[in-house]
């Protein structure tokens, strides 16, 4: 079932992996840009990733963006392992924009999709091993001995009793050719990979010294706050800035494509100015929309059937002939990412150049966007990457970078743009809401005979094309971008199913008769990748349905799943590992267990949640999590990502909802968009499966199972089969 048929291959668009976009790539600018690696005489810069200096320092230019997932530690460990030098000895730098920093799996300089370790492992191991080989060759030449008489140990060339630092051979190494082929270090010889050690960015982040986009200050910089329409799709008709301009510190007011910007000496003055601004907005097709009206539209689309995405066997006949059936409808609301650092960027547009300082999930595309909106070539833009105060998919869309560029172009000054928390929650982009239905049937033997699944909602691909094409294809005229966006929109209305919309709804378990449909309904609400993307809602529908089916079959829910995983050994193994926890776990009085498993981003995860209901409030006490992510480069970071994904997923499972009222987003800050707090956090036990398989992603796969695991526990606790998120509201209304 995991193999795609040719038809479904043609019918599923695959933007998430970049495949669709790669096909449209045009030649870039004629001269390759120089590496954004500052160097002084005596420095040896053999490639985009490493700089060796005469004093023995080794700088690693980390090609992926650090948003908390630990990538600066993980990728440093890989290159350091190849180099045979402790990762702690390397100085990690956040790389600027350059084609050499492209994500090998995407072709662009983008961090996302839980791809970083998976896609860079071989590349960076090769780079490290090449450099080690180069130093061995240089040392052999300088010492006048055979290379075979030398070895390495933690950054030193070893010759008998003598040890020489790599740095001693820099000048010779710089004259030698980098070996084109090199034997990669054998897994049995790993010294740091597979070992848990503290993150390399722990100290700067415990002392307040880590620099985020919001922390940048450059001479002459002014602060901007943008007033955006209350309803998506509305435009500025006219505005009155007299009151805003009378606020102390306000310098100017500028209309830009997305709204009206108030520019001031300090942020607080700009914010007060923005509050004093009066703007008249045009009408929008979304005017008057409510969550209920949007959901009614999805229900209508779902009832109409939608487009076929997958079909195997005869699902209608199998359902008609089933011994028992389950028919459930699921709702998952719109969600904001709400990273702790709201969107921020500093841009300075000068005459023939520009600079950008920001923490984004795409420094390359970000620089290209600045160039496009400043009227420059990408090579004229210097990008300074900072740490990201959380990403979760939100910092892949760079509207704030475009806004800052437009403002700076108008003022001529460096502009720091900061979105307020209200801007963040009300200004987009969101995890799309989803209405799903699964009808499933069991045969006489209690085996899954039919799985008929459908999802209605909006797709993230058109918005992704809209926001990323101008960044990825700097030379493409606006008219062509508009054409491509329109084409993608039309393709998704009846031709192609956006795979991100249905991923995870049907793939994991063996079923002989399968049908998957998708009904697209767009309202002009901007949506995008949100930690684990489609899996964030499909796993909820799939795993609650599996629990209901196990009950209908009179089987243990974990054993029922295992019986349908014979074709899927890695997911089966994590389910079996979690089964040990499940079988040996006697919940405390008043508490109940729930189980869920899900495969996403090439990683398999199974979770058990211990849950109680106290005075109507859901309390998740403890979570067990088994994960197979192949080789765990740093097991402690894998654990941290599982813990973090569970907490992020619990916020969504228990509390998360963004509602529309009168066309506008109702929630505005953390009082009505609550985030899980420390007193609600469960203890988490993570077991990482022993594996020498290639490493796979860990940023996202820990999230999908937690909502259904909690829902399945709540069924045991209350007898209520909750099928709507968030569960706290569903339980109150059940």
């Amino acid at each position: 079932m995991s193999t795609l048929s040719r038809r479904s291959f043609l019918r599923h668009s695959a933007l998430a992996g970049g495949g669709l976009l790669v096909a449209f790539t045009l030649p870039g600018c004629s001269t390759p840009p120089s590496l954004p690696v500052p160097r002084e005489s005596g420095d040896f810069v053999p490639n985009a990733f490493l700089k060796f200096t005469a004093d023995g320092a080794v700088h690693f230019y980390c090609p992926r963006d650090e948003m908390g997932q630990g990538v600066t530690t993980g990728l440093t460990t890989i290159v350091a392992e190849g180099l045979d030098m402790a990762p702690q000895r390397l100085t990690v730098e956040l790389a600027g924009a350059h084609p050499d920093y492209a994500n090998p799996g995407m072709g662009f300089q983008v961090t996302g999709g839980s791809t970083s370790v998976k896609e860079h492992f071989t590349q960076l191991m090769t780079v490290g091993c090449q450099m080690r080989a180069l130093f061995l060759a240089a040392a052999a030449q300088d010492l006048g001995v055979a290379e075979s008489a030398l070895t390495t140990d933690d950054g030193m060339i070893v010759h008998g009793e003598n040890r020489y630092p790599y740095a001693q051979f820099l000048s010779t190494a710089a004259t030698l050719p980098v070996p084109e082929t090199v034997d990669l270090k054998a897994a049995a010889d790993y010294r740091w990979i597979g070992t848990a050690f503290p993150r390399l960015d722990g100290e700067v982040k415990a002392t307040g010294k880590a620099v985020y986009g919001i922390d940048i200050d450059v001479p002459g910089m002014e602060h901007a706050v943008v007033v955006r329409p209350p309803v998506f799709g509305a435009k500025v008709v006219r505005y009155d800035d007299r009151a805003a301009k009378s606020v102390a510190g306000v310098r100017t007011v500028v209309e830009i494509a997305t709204g009206v910007a108030v520019v001031a000496e300090h942020f607080w003055q700009a914010k007060k100015g923005a509050e004093a601004l009066t703007v008249e907005w045009s009408a929008s097709p979304l005017d008057g929309a409510t969550t209920a009206s949007l959901r009614a539209d999805y229900a209508e689309a779902l009832a109409a059937g939608g487009e076929e995405a997958e079909s195997t066997g005869d699902v209608a006949a199998a359902l008609a002939g089933a011994t028992k059936t389950v028919d459930l409808e699921f709702w998952a609301p719109f969600l904001a990412h709400a990273p702790m650092e709201p969107m921020s960027a500093v841009v300075h547009v000068k005459g023939d150049s520009a600079e950008l300082w920001a923490g984004t999930q795409g420094p390359g595309p970000a620089g290209a966007l600045v160039a496009r909106h400043a009227g420059l070539e990408p090579a004229q833009v210097m990008v300074h990457q900072t740490y990201l105060g959380g990403g979760f998919g939100r910092r892949g869309t760079l509207t704030h970078v475009v806004e800052a560029t437009q403002i700076s172009k108008a003022t001529g000054t460096p502009i720091k743009l900061l979105w307020t928390r209200e801007d963040d929650l009300r200004g987009g982009l969101y995890r799309p809401a989803s209405l799903m239905r699964i009808r499933a049937g069991l045969d006489d033997d209690g085996r899954l005979a039919a799985w008929d699944a459908a999802r209605a909602g909006s797709n993230i691909t058109p918005e992704t094309i809209r926001t990323s094409l101008p960044a990825l294809l700097p030379g493409m005229p606006d008219g062509v971008v508009d054409f491509m966006v329109g084409l993608t929109d039309r393709l998704h209305q009846g031709w192609v199913v956006d795979h991100s919309s249905i991923e995870g709804l049907y793939e994991d378990y063996a079923v002989p008769n399968l049908a998957v449909h998708h009904a697209t309904k767009e309202h002009g609400i901007p949506v995008t990748f949100w930690r684990s993307v489609g899996h964030s809602y499909t796993a909820f529908a799939k795993e609650v349905t599996m629990d209901a089916l196990a009950e209908a079959a009179g089987q243990d829910p974990v054993a029922f799943r295992l019986a349908h995983l014979e074709h899927n050994p890695r997911l089966a193994a994590v389910v079996a590992k979690a089964q040990e926890a499940w079988n040996g776990w006697t919940p405390a009085p008043g508490r109940h267990l729930g189980f869920a498993a899900h495969h996403s981003f090439a990683t398999s995860v199974a979770q058990v949640a211990e849950v109680s209901v106290e005075d109507g409030a859901i309390r998740v006490h403890r979570v067990f999590c088994a994960v197979d992510c192949g080789l765990a480069v740093n097991p402690d970071i894998v654990r941290a990502q599982m813990e973090g994904a569970i907490m992020y997923g619990l916020t969504a499972a228990l509390h998360g909802r963004l509602d529309f009222e009168g066309g506008a987003v109702k929630q505005s800050n953390f009082h009505d968009y609550p985030i899980l707090r420390i007193n609600e956090a469960p203890t988490v036990e993570v077991v990482i499966m022993e594996s020498q398989e290639a490493p796979t992603g860990v940023g996202e796969p820990g999230l999908p199972p937690i909502a259904p695991a909690v829902a399945n526990a709540l069924y045991r606790a209350t007898g209520k089969r909750l099928t709507e998120l968030p569960l706290s509201d569903a339980l109150r209304l059940a």
Binding site: E203, I214, W268, M340
Partner: protein, 167 residues
């Protein structure tokens, strides 16, 4: 002109007295360790100590700190509670994105100064005002408990030394 003490230094500001302390510290005094998260006192990313008490400074007007002593993450004691917490934070790899961690550590430092051996419930109550979107909560708990244990050990050692000296 409004005057207060910032990390031990007397400072003056002519910003409007309704300006939140956070923005004066970040934009005028250029200390960037304290963060903006919500602007409504709901997330704790902006936590500083005012006369030793943890305060959410995104909603604390400058007028309220006139003549008071303000401590930010940059001025957290390099010995004692602050150092123990920061060492525990590194050892436990608490931080993920790290953005909220200055506020978390300032809240934790105020807790341990007031209550060197908090129960789990006391810890949760003291830290419930600080959101971590990356979900580092289990590690924050571990780090605070580990720092408290280290400080208790140090105190035992110091007391024993003092007794030895006086004997």
């Amino acid at each position: 002109m409004l005057r207060f003490t910032l990390n031990g230094q007397t400072v003056e500001t002519d910003l409007a007295p309704d300006t939140p302390l956070l923005w004066a510290v970040r934009d005028q005094f250029m200390l960037k360790g304290s963060k903006f998260g919500c602007g409504a006192g709901l997330c704790g990313a902006c936590t500083m100590h005012v006369d030793g008490v943890a305060q959410k400074t995104c909603v604390l007007p400058l007028a309220a700190v006139a003549g008071k002593a303000v401590t930010t993450i940059e001025g957290l004691d390099p010995e004692g509670v602050g150092a123990a917490l920061q060492a525990a934070w590194v050892a436990e790899s608490v931080s993920q994105c790290g953005y909220c961690q200055s506020g978390q550590i300032m809240a934790a430092a105020a807790l341990l100064e007031a209550n060197p051996n908090p129960t789990e419930a006391e810890l949760e109550t003291a830290m419930a005002g600080n959101i971590c979107r990356c979900g580092c909560y289990p590690r924050i708990k571990n780090a605070i408990q580990s720092a408290a244990a280290t400080l208790a050990q140090d105190a035992l050692f110091t007391n024993a030394m003092a007794e030895e000296v006086s004997a």
